[in-house]
């Protein structure tokens, strides 16, 4: 599974990093550190990745099921 973090929509709510800290990291501004990137979800972390994506108030995270 991969997750794509939208470069524009992320507005720094920070929920993804609270709900799935193994998948989503924040930068020094409190925004997703991987904006504009597509990340490989570590094995076993798929549920966390989904949860973090689902709770993004901006819908800035796209799940790409492998």
């Amino acid at each position: 599974m991969q997750v794509k973090i939208d470069a524009v929509l992320c507005s720094g709510h920070g929920r993804c990093a609270v709900l799935a800290p193994t998948v989503y990291k924040l930068d020094d501004n409190g925004y997703n550190a991987d904006r504009g990137k597509t990340l490989e979800v570590p094995a076993g972390q798929e549920a966390a990745a989904r949860k973090g994506a689902k709770l993004c108030p901006e819908r800035a995270i796209t799940l790409i099921e492998g």
């Binding site: 939208d6 507005s11 720094g12 924040l26 409190g30 689902k54 709770l55 108030p57 901006e58 819908r59």
Partner: protein, 443 residues
């Protein structure tokens, strides 16, 4: 990436999103809207029903400052979500009210079409200085947020935790032996200001009460009196910023504000904008969190089972904070101005129209939250728009969460058993913000 491209992604993702069941997000299919081609017809059809029930037709003749709105806040929000995605107001130059989560999100994210530069409140009083960065658009807004955000990120505010908890205990010490308190004046209106002044601004807390009063009156006083009240806040904080500009730097948020940002290469922003930044942050820092604290404690005072559950399982506090923020929205609605003709949920808006984003309603939209009218602190996932949506997301959201968590934890440690004082009840004031004016607790 332009807005259209990101919208397309959004749709793709939404489909993905709803595939996952067993959560608080629910499938849009369960909430298929009734066929309703003409929004004017819908507003008309339900208008009388609203008038009979609430004393005012909240769909066709809305007024956010009408006490009948504040007195029936949640039932009216739920009616809007069900029957009226876009309500109409004829107050002053008129405005629209958009309530559903997806519509609020779309507007919040599309700052090119829905601008903040003409202010966040409908019928903005003349003579009120603009509040930056709240009442601005990119690129000015982006320039400011880029330098302000690092001071209010989760990592940056985490270092204030111990001080905030110590302050919560100092306030509790003042009334715990009395066995009762008036929560707003003795705690709720104090702690957020202390947290912000001591940790972020470095301002003495002695002057807090006059600033709290200034922003309260600047928000709820008769419209024509509001600029004068805000004027005093501008004067006080302007003096502080000048004082700090002439002091050795401390490397804090105030230094960042005093240094200013460039609006275009080589063009530094005017000094007034820097004062305005300080006012806006102070406004947000002291005028909103109080309501969530107070409404949550009122809820816990009247729901002993929930209170005991929180005391028994402190690990559930993060979820509880999110749920309280969802159901007790201190910011009812903030607005935008249409920069072109646009359609929202079937309603055509003209260039220059003002539209309120009903954050309070959007956080209880059954299309995105299961059983949204139920307060459930054990929700596994809480999706809400209490901190706004889009580039103007509340810059203090991380500090607010920290203050709320610290307050509930320290309060329950010291005062695990408490109730509303007999013969009293909470009183509210509601406009674009909602505040609780009094809450008498006994313990």
């Amino acid at each position: 990436m332009d807005y259209r491209a990101s919208t397309k992604q959004l749709i793709v993702f939404s489909i993905d999103l709803y595939r996952d069941r067993g959560s608080d997000m629910i499938e849009p299919e369960n909430h298929r809207e009734p066929e309703s081609p003409d929004p004017d017809e819908i507003r008309r059809k339900h208008g009388e029903e609203m008038r009979n029930r609430f004393g005012r037709d909240m769909f066709n003749d809305f007024d956010i400052d009408d006490p009948r709105f504040g007195d029936n806040l949640f039932p009216i929000l739920d009616e809007m979500l069900e029957k009226c995605p876009v309500a109409r107001s004829h107050v002053g130059s008129g405005y629209w009210v958009v309530s559903r989560n997806a519509d609020v999100r779309r507007i919040g994210q599309d700052w090119r079409t829905f601008s903040s530069a003409k202010g966040y409140q409908p019928n903005r009083p003349a003579g009120l200085p603009y509040l930056m960065p709240e009442e601005s658009d990119p690129p000015k807004h982006t320039a400011w947020r880029d330098v302000l955000n690092p001071h209010l990120s989760p990592r940056a505010v985490a270092k204030y935790d111990a001080q905030i908890r110590a302050d919560a205990n100092t306030l509790i010490d003042r009334f715990i032996d009395r066995g009762e308190c008036e929560f707003i004046s003795e705690f709720g209106a104090k702690l957020p200001g202390w947290a912000f002044f001591k940790n972020v601004l470095g301002v003495p807390v002695d002057d807090l009460d006059q600033l709290v009063q200034g922003v309260h009156n600047g928000t709820f006083a008769p419209r024509e009196e509001r600029p004068a009240h805000f004027g005093k806040v501008f004067e006080y904080l302007g003096n502080y910023l000048t004082f700090r500009r002439d002091q050795p730097p401390r490397g804090d948020l105030v230094d960042t504000i005093a240094a200013g940002v460039e609006y275009e290469p080589g063009v530094l922003c005017p000094w007034e904008d820097r004062v305005s930044i300080l006012v806006d942050l102070t406004f947000g820092g002291i005028a909103t969190t109080t309501y969530v604290m107070a409404a949550s404690l009122h809820y816990l005072a009247t729901h002993p089972g929930v209170r005991e559950a929180l005391v028994d399982d402190p690990g559930s506090m993060d979820r509880a904070v999110e749920e309280f923020v969802r159901v007790f929205p201190p910011v009812v609605a903030l607005g935008r101005t249409c920069t072109r003709e646009v359609e929202v949920a079937g309603t055509k808006m003209k260039q220059g129209d003002f539209v309120l984003l009903n954050y309070a309603a959007s956080s209880r939209d059954p299309r995105v939250v299961q059983e949204p009218t139920k307060i459930d602190i054990t929700r596994e996932s809480v999706l809400h728009s209490a901190f706004g949506v889009g580039v103007h997301r509340c810059i203090g959201s991380n500090l607010a969460r920290l203050e709320l968590k610290a307050t509930f934890e320290e309060w329950l440690k010291r005062i695990p058993d408490f109730a509303v004082k007999g013969g009293t009840g909470p009183t509210y004031e509601t406009g674009i913000l909602r505040v609780m004016k009094q809450l008498h607790l006994v313990f």
